[in-house]
């Protein structure tokens, strides 16, 4: 859990993914398209990835990936990110966290 929180606060936009997860691929693509450069942590490629996945689940992430953090705060999964983007909130949060400037 500490690992997750630690990594999540290291950059304005942080996404936990798995290399086998194609929805993660979509969310990453969206962030790149917006000009944000998120830190991406692929849980299946990390030694303590399993523990981090459990930690994310305990935080309420369902599915566990993709798990998006902006400004150190857990924002949500794919569905949440898409919903927030449609009503303009995602960009607001990214600007607020200085992940993007416009």
């Amino acid at each position: 859990m500490d690992m997750v929180i630690d990594l999540a606060s290291k950059k304005a936009a942080v996404i936990f993914t798995k290399s086998s997860c194609f929805m993660c691929h979509s969310i990453k693509a969206l962030f790149y398209d917006l000009g944000a450069s998120p830190a991406v942590h692929e849980l299946d490629q990390l030694t303590n990835g399993k523990e981090m996945e459990c930690a994310l689940q305990r935080l309420g992430c369902n599915p566990s990936v993709p798990a998006v953090f902006i400004g150190g705060k857990y924002i949500g999964s794919a569905k949440d990110i898409i919903s927030l983007h449609v009503d303009g909130s995602l960009k607001e949060k990214l600007i607020e966290a200085k992940a993007i400037w416009f």
Partner: protein, 327 residues
Amino acid sequence: MMANVSPRTDTSADGDIDDKIPAFHNSDGMIVSNASERSRDQKTLRRLAQNREAARKSRLRKKAYVQQLESSRMQLTQLEQDLQRARQQGKYISSSGDQSQSMSGNGALAFDVEYARWLEEHTRRANELRGAVNAHAGDAELRIIVDGILTHYDDIYRIKSEAAKADVFHILSGMWKTPAERCFLWLGGFRSSELLKLLMSKLEPLTEQQMLAITNLQQSSQQAEDALSQGMEALQQSLADTLAGSLAQSNSPGNVASYMGQMAMAMGKLGTLENFICQADNLRQQTFQQLHRILTTRQSARAVIAINDYFSRLRALSSLWLARPRE
């Protein structure tokens, strides 16, 4: 001696002169008729016999016909009962999310029926809205109808989500839509970003704030669509790689196990398709809801009508296409 003229029932209509000739008794006291009378007797008897036979046959035919009618009636009653039962079961299947076993065989058909029903109701509501707008109804009345339509949209997305669980490929195929609509198919439905582009001109006059908001909405939905498309492409590529990998194996036992393993992996990948449909539908719903937050009641009404008009035209085009003369 005068002979007794016994009245004889004679069914013939001809006024035979022989009728007038009376019978007379011979020495034995028997009434003897002459040759022509005898033959007439025989004719009459024959005719009577034939009549009896015809009547008997007619009665038999009538009896057979009535029996046939009665058995058909029983069959019809049975069929009606079966249909009633099937309808009730059909309703149960389509409304319950747990019936994945019974859905899998007729899941596609059940969805098609549900979608047709939903579309009919939606069209009715859109026409009601059109009527209200033409009758210069007030904002309050329009609001009620528009809100009803927006809530009704939620129904089809819920039904679609259940159907995608049962048969994701049917939803993806778009076979439940008309041909011309399928032209524009994206992840099992329409593209919200394209729909917004169509609507822009129809919604004028818009305030500057509204113009900006709708432009942003159009851009956001397009970005989300592109992101989902990229995820799908990655999925397709990965699936192709997995299957190509399994092709390289020979038939040795170790490789059969690896083949099975790769098939299992491919199966897992197919399983994620449902999530993509789910996210695409969520995008459509969210975009629609956001649009109606931006618009006034009257503009919302025009938007609903315009969208309905557009899709009606697409469906009409499909009908024309299907009915076109072929060489």
